[in-house]
Amino acid sequence: MITVDTTARKYRLISLFIASLGIITLLMADIEISATDPMDELLAILAGFISPDLSQIDYLAEALLTTVFFAVVGISIAATLGIFLAPLHHLPLISHFCAFIRSIHELFWALIFLQMFGLSSITGVLAIAIPYTGIFARVYSDILEQSPLDRRHWINDTSLSVWLYTGIIPCWAAIAQYTRYRFECGLRSAAILGFIGLPTLGYYLETAFSQGQYNEAAGLLLLFFAMIATLKWWLNIRLVLLYLIAAIVYLPWQSQLEFKYLVRFITQDIVPQPLLEPTLNLSHLSQWFGDLVSGQILPGIGASLLLSVSALLCCGVIALLTWPLASRAIIGRGYILGHGLLIVMRSTPEIILAFVIMLIIGPSMLPAILALALHNGAIIGYLLAHRADTVPLRVDRPNGLNLWAYELQPQIYPSFISLIFYRFEVILRESAILGMLGVTTIGFYIDSAFEALFFDVALILILVTAALNMLVNSISLRLRRYLALDRILTA
């Protein structure tokens, strides 16, 4: 038998690899379904969506403005820094640094800054700006590499005009499109920051949901969906400048904490407690650290990986099933409905998805897997639909199912694989915040440490998650090189 080493063969191999890994982890993961009787609660949620109500929420306008402004300022800072870091991203130091800052979830960044600046706008903006800088730097550098101009001419010339005229300007359309897409993610991040107390939409959403006030929860969610769906009408570069000025005037910027508390946080709170004892006791230190490794770090990493890999497989399946629904070429006018569905799926915070799924199938790792898969699957589905609709089609193309199966699906499969690799990083990062289901991911232990004010433990665990993310990132980078995926635009 002759094996021909085609690109398609590589894609088959890698798909098989992801699928078998996913199936193995699904078999190992705790995915028991238990019988519940959720009808009352589900009916209450449904009733909420039938008669959504925003009148009971105090300070709604404030929450809306704060959400938008956090996103605008955070994303603007991140995009600006990202543009400047992008040409340097080929340096290992810079690319590791970027991987590090984006591997920490924005909620964890916020929890750290909360200890340093209190519930100030600085906390919200930095929590968005820092991880997104890492994301922008990487993706902009990917985009620049595909500049229609030969990259070798400018890679070693760091002067500003070379960078501007050979890099940024030819790629401007791609950069702008990506930044716009990321702004949507930034809005979502800003909303979620409310879960830990910043005055954004998530603040009220979390309250309404946990108190079972589903009319208000539905009202807030619908409002948020509407914001995302109408983004293209209220977000463009000129308006962003206006929003920026408004945000700087409107938001309260002063740190709420005295400087001495910031110093205490850095010099005492985050230092492992055994190191602060008057005399250094090595056996005490090693026992403290050993307990942490065996009790939290190792089980946490295990659960996080199981959860993320199984979620990745489900996410891929969902993306492949949903993208045709939002593709104009395949569905025709009905694509608007598909878009709506994907907006709902990707804009509902995973924690809420997981909560509703748990009501139906009981607590285990499965609600977390499904929540991550639905959310990320919808994002990939949306990006794929977008890509499919820009594929040039012949006049005598097939229609409907044939168009999907023989024309578009094969053409966008490389984008799909590329997106899956990138999303794995995101899923791993997000798996951390689903610890509340009793799924003991590493994020569960981070949350417990913050809740008990053990900041030293929290910091070590956060660094461990970052290291894990960076490891996964470098593995996925190698696989992408193997597939020559670097030449395919990532998003």
Binding site: Y59, G118, T207, Q211, P363, S364, E451, L453
Partner: protein, 280 residues
């Protein structure tokens, strides 16, 4: 010269306008928290003669951090969060508790499918089922139930039950046990009665199977340095204002019938248990 004067005036007024701030752990009904507690702030402003403001927080740990960082000088804490806050802030004192807080208790609740019935002792059969606490930092939803579980079974909850979770708060514990997502849960008894009165509980689906022994819970804790910051007898005046609070609409925010004096020593049992479970 005029500007200099203006600056001086602004400076002086900013000193005089020192605000006394307080917070409350987000434990009872969280909705409209701000409008409800703004009323309490208004009452305290009248009683104390200084500007009093309420700062909302989203979690137990945020309340403790705010207290520790002097963002708030007074806080309505749970048993565990209060012990923790006083441990972190030297000189801080418990000054008042609700009259109910001297004899607080936790209900263990079960879904009807478990077939469990109410008993005087903690039924060892509960080990067969799934179990949810409330918030990780809660006294009635976590610390005390965990303590009694350890006492009964001699091991930690995640070794006792089939599965252990943290629902996040008391209302969610009730909703999730009622829907059968979790089979057993531990819940603050006052929240249970509130929801029962509000018609949110269907007794054919969910019931109380055990009531814990009583323990001290919620209290007002004040920072030790307020007497220097405000006036020499400031903490006493705050205590008096709290104890004198009689308006039912104000007390309903907590919800307590009235406040009685409290001391740090009242919470010694909580401190001992928190240390044993390594939450302190």
């Amino acid at each position: 010269m005029k500007y200099l004067l203006l600056c001086c005036l602004l400076f002086v007024s900013s000193i005089n306008a020192q605000t006394f701030t307080f917070t409350a752990i987000p434990d009872e009904d969280e909705s409209r928290l701000r409008s409800r507690f703004d009323k309490v702030a208004l009452y305290l402003t009248e009683q104390l003669g200084v500007d009093v403001k309420y700062v909302p927080v989203k979690s137990y740990s945020a309340a403790i951090s705010a207290f520790r960082n002097n963002q708030v000088q007074l806080a309505w804490f749970g048993g565990l969060s209060g012990v923790k806050a006083r441990y972190l802030v030297e000189g801080s004192r418990a000054i008042a508790q609700g009259s109910e807080d001297q004899f607080f208790k936790t209900y263990f609740i079960a879904h009807h499918s478990t077939g469990l019935t109410e008993q005087a002792q903690l039924n060892k059969d509960i080990a067969k089922f799934t179990f949810t606490f409330g918030s990780k930092g809660s006294t009635s939803g976590r610390l005390m139930p965990e303590h009694f579980i350890r006492q009964t079974f001699g091991k930690s909850p995640n070794k006792v039950f089939k599965r252990v979770g943290f629902s996040g708060d008391h209302s969610r514990t009730i909703a999730q046990v009622q829907s059968g997502a979790w089979q057993i849960g531990a819940v603050n008894y006052k929240v249970w009665h509130n929801e029962l009165n509000a018609g949110k509980i269907d007794l054919s689906k969910i019931k109380v199977i055990w009531t814990t022994p009583t323990y001290p819970d919620y209290q007002w804790t004040i920072r030790g340095d307020v007497d220097q910051q405000f006036s020499p007898d400031f903490s006493q005046r705050v205590q008096k204002a709290l104890l004198d609070m009689s308006e039912p609409s104000l007390l309903a925010s907590f919800p307590r019938q009235k406040f009685v004096p409290a001391t740090n020593d009242d919470y010694e049992p909580i401190k001992v248990i928190a240390k044993a479970i390594k939450l302190l």
